[in-house]
Structures are given as structure tokens and as C-alpha cells.
Amino acid sequence: MSEHAIEAVGLRRTYRSRTGWLRPQRREVEAVRGVDLTVGNGELFGLLGPNGAGKTTTIKMLNTLLVPSGGSARICGYDVVTRTREVRRRIGYVFGGDRGLYDRLSARDNLRYFAELYGVPGREQRRRIGELLELVRLDGRDDDRVEGYSRGMRQRLHIARGLLHRPRVLFLDEPSIGVDPVAARELRQTVADLAATGTTVLLTTHYMAEADELCGRIAVIANGRIQALGTPAELRRHADGRRVLEVEAYGVTDRQLAAIRTLPGVREASMDVVGAAQVLGVQSDAGYDVQADVLRALDGVRLGRVTARQPTLEDAYVAIVNRVAEERPIEAVAA
């Protein structure tokens, strides 16, 4: 048994697309430009990044659906290009959204079919399917056709399917997309329970709170490369040495905002409109207390609540991704 569940070295992937028929134009898009990562057995690992950053491409290379254009990857010690059968026996794949199920079949029949495909022995199938239906709380509706299921139910059925053959490594690609808050919380509980039983989970998500709560380590991927990697606490340090000041205001002008950006110690300033109010967010170096300067700059503007807080994981994520965006504009990349 390999000590790492997932190992990737210099993983790259280019997509070639051809547009035009009479005069074909070839375009190459580098979706993933060299990803290195190692995930230990039983770890719950998060992969975060903006849309089109290369998350799904990375996952598809790791789960054998795509062959990398460069680099190599191993799952439980087996190469994803040459030892596909061994890899596939050990992985489960769940993605968000409501496609990917046979609508005309019941939940039970969907599971029966994939149990057959994923090589669950005939003797075990019935028991295993029963267990999983119970785990994802679909027992009772299990003989209804999937076409009548809600999004949350489909999502849970996806997870049951991914777990049929007791995979050692589970890829969860944005599982909570479009799921209501209560269902999402239950989903997080299910994922946490899985990790507790020793399954390695690679999770991609857009919800920072979800990643913060679940993941032991997180990699932020943007522009096809890993930009930061560490525990949620370590990542938060990217926004470390910063403080966030939030000011509720009514009638801040653009000139005032520009002036605030030039204040000593201010790193970033942004403005959102919430209802009738504007919310001014100012990230500053922790060494400076910018509050007095900011309020002075807003002289004459009616102000509401003023709060100073520690940066969250989301602030850190925004800082990392923005840094990349400043270095080079992110191209439109196929996800």
C-alpha cells in the first residue's frame, strides 16, 4: 500500500480546438500548467479556484477520464495512464448538478446498474445498495423514478453511486452546487463522516465556509497552477498581517474611494451596495490603524456601523486570486 492516496507531479493539460471548417484554425488552450500535489491516505483535501481555473480538468486527469499532456499522477501508487483498471477500482467520482443519472430508472436500479459496472460482487449488491440508500436517506423513495427527484435528492444519489464499490479515494467535484442550505449542511456531514472512516476525499467547491469547515488542507488553483497550499489557518495568513475595516455609509463618491486607496497602509479598498447602504471594505496592514484616516476621508458622508475584523478564509482566497489576476489576465479557459 502506497503511503499517499494521490500524487501528482507536473500535471499539465492542453486542449486543442479547431474552429472553422473551410479554413480550420487551431487554438491551443492550456487548462492546467503544471500541478504538483500529494494527498495522504484518509486526508480531506480541498481544491479551490475560480471558474475555469483548471479544477475539473485536474480531477479528470486524476480519475483517468483524461490523459495528461505532461507530468504524471498516481492514485494509491498506480499510474493513472497505464494502470487504469487498478485506479478505477479504487476511486469514486461525484460531480454536482443534476445530470449523470438515468432519469427513467429508480434510484435502486441506477445503483444496481453501476454496482454491476463497478464490479460489486452479486452477493453483496443488495445489502450494499440498501446501506447506501439509508446513508443518503433515500430509502422510502428508492423505487421512484429519478426524473421526479429534487436536486438535493439527485445529489445524494450521486454520492451513493460514488460509494458503491467502497472507493479508497473519492473525488467530489462541486457537490453542493445548487443545493439548498439545509441539504448542503447534511451533505457536509456525510462527507465528514466518510473522511472519518478513512476514505480519502478530494473536494472542489466554491463555498469557502464549506472548505474551511471540512478540509484538512486546501490548494488554491488559478490560471492552471496551484497558487497556495496549506491548512485553512495557514492560508488565512495570506491575508495575514492585514485587518479588514468595514464601514456602512450613504453617498460615498468615487473620488473619496480613490483617496482612501492612497492612504498609507491601505492594501485594497472596495465598495459593495447592500440595500440602500454602501459597504466600504478596506484591507490594511495590521501595523497601521487606518480607521481614523478612513473616517476623515469620508468627512461629510452619513455613516452607519463601523466594524474592524480579522480576515476570513474568503478574504485570503480573494487576495490570492486577485494577485494572480494582476500578474497576468486570466484567459478564458475551458473548464
Binding site: L65, L66, G100, L101, R104, L105, D109, L117, Y118
Partner: protein, 262 residues
């Protein structure tokens, strides 16, 4: 071994229910049972009118052809509906033999085709008054089964092609038209130019229709056996072709992301 048979058998049946659009009673009766019957009547009356050939020619030929519709469209759906449901990726993630998964899918359609062929032959013989010698029945059933099996694998080949080239229905519609035209079911093979006749020779149905006519004419099983063998060989050929194409397209897709797997 039993696990493999389970994959082919049980897996095939579930996939049939999941992917065949025409399993509702209305569709099944309308498209698969009544449709071929009208087609048969059309050609039988046309043949009578023009004096091209007798009823036996048209009834037997079209009954064999009736097996093809379910198989051709079913085979197409068996592969291409995976795209519609977005399940192809999950199927390809299976560590088990692709050949077994997909060939297992052709069997229910073949069985379906056999059922249609038998029902079409029975109903039309009764309505148009064709007498079939009782001794010919076992051989005839065998012949229809061979035709249905060959069509099932033919359909799977079309499905594989449809997987790679977007417009699936185009492929199957053209295939149905070719079968109608070139298998010698409605236009006597002797009337076709040599080139077209050669194409007909490698399509399913052609040999089975020929053999079935001999059986109904009372020529005995010996006279029809070569046709049966030819039909089976063609079925085997398409099975191999379908497996090879599926394998090729899967490999290609992993390299070039050509099958939107998710």
C-alpha cells in the same frame, strides 16, 4: 465467469430500460409493432400492383426487416443517450471490460427485434393469407434470431459512430434507408446494380431474408443453412467492429477530450 455473465445479462437489461426511449406501451405498440406492419402492407400491395413478386417475397422479407428498426434505433440510443443523461463518464469509469458492458447492451434489443419480427410475420400471414409450412417454423425462428442478433450488433456499431459524430439520428436514419433499399427485401437483389448488391451483401438482414424465403417456400433447412451461416458471420463482424470502435473512441477521448464525458 458468473460475474461476467451478470454484467452482460443483468447489466444489459437495466441499460435497456434506462436508455431505450420506446419502452412506454404507446411507443412500443405504435412504433415497433404497428409501424412495421403498415410498412409490410405498403410494399406487399405495391408489389401486387406492379407484379414484381408474390406476397411471400414481401411478407417474409419485410418481417425479417421489421427486426431491424428496434435494433438500429435501440443500438443508437444505447450509446448516445448516455450523452443525453450525462452518464457516459460514470460508465467509462468502470474498471470492467468495455466489450462486455456494451455488447451486453445489444442483446435485449436483439430479443426485442426477434419479438417484433415474429409478431409481424404472424399477423401479416394471417391477414394476407400466407401459408407457412409447419416444418419450416423452427428454422425460421432460428433465421429471425440470427437476423435480430446481427441487427443488434449493427445498431451498436452505429451507436459507436454516433458517439463520436454528433448527429446520431442522422446515422441511424441513413442506416434504416440503406437497409430498406439494399437488403433485397423490397427491391429484388437481381434488379440492383452490382455495386449496391455488394453493399447489401455486408448488411444484416440480406442473407436472413433470403434464407427465410427459402424456408417458407418449403426448400428445407439444408437449402437455407448457408444463408444462416452468412448472417451469423455478418453479426459477428459487426460485434467485433463495434467493440473496436468503442475502444478506439474511448482512447482517443482520453487523449483529446473528444467525448464530452461529463
Amino acid at each position: 465467469m458468473t460475474a461476467l455473465l451478470r454484467l452482460i445479462g443483468t447489466g444489459g437489461v437495466i441499460a435497456y430500460r434506462a436508455l431505450f426511449n420506446w419502452t412506454t406501451p404507446a411507443m412500443f405498440v405504435g412504433t415497433l409493432l404497428v409501424g412495421p406492419l403498415f410498412q409490410l402492407f405498403f410494399f406487399a400491395y405495391l408489389g401486387r400492383q406492379l407484379g414484381v413478386a408474390d406476397d411471400r417475397f414481401y411478407i417474409v422479407g419485410n418481417a425479417v426487416l421489421a427486426a431491424s428498426v428496434a435494433c438500429v434505433f435501440g443500438g443508437t440510443m444505447a450509446v448516445s443517450n448516455e450523452r443525453r443523461f450525462g452518464t457516459l463518464g460514470h460508465v467509462l469509469l468502470s474498471p470492467r471490460s468495455r466489450t462486455a458492458i456494451f455488447l451486453g447492451r445489444a442483446l435485449p434489443y436483439a430479443l426485442n427485434g426477434l419479438l417484433i419480427a415474429v409478431s409481424t410475420l404472424t399477423v401479416s400471414s394471417l391477414l394476407l393469407g400466407l401459408r407457412i409450412p409447419v416444418t419450416a417454423l423452427p428454422g425460421l425462428l432460428l433465421m429471425l434470431a440470427a437476423a435480430a442478433l446481427a441487427c443488434g450488433f449493427f445498431g451498436l456499431t452505429l451507436g459507436a459512430i454516433g458517439l463520436r459524430f454528433r448527429d446520431v439520428w442522422l446515422v441511424s436514419n441513413v442506416a434504416v434507408a440503406l437497409l430498406l433499399l439494399l437488403t433485397g427485401v423490397n427491391v429484388p437483389a437481381a434488379g440492383l446494380p452490382a455495386g449496391l448488391r455488394a453493399v447489401g451483401g455486408v448488411l444484416p438482414i440480406t442473407h436472413a431474408a433470403e434464407g427465410a424465403r427459402r424456408l417458407v417456400a418449403g426448400d428445407g433447412f439444408g437449402a437455407a443453412a448457408p444463408a444462416l451461416a452468412a448472417e451469423l458471420a455478418i453479426g459477428l463482424g459487426y460485434a467485433i467492429l463495434a467493440a473496436a470502435l468503442l475502444k478506439l473512441f474511448e482512447t482517443e477521448s482520453r487523449r483529446q477530450a473528444t467525448l464530452e464525458t461529463v
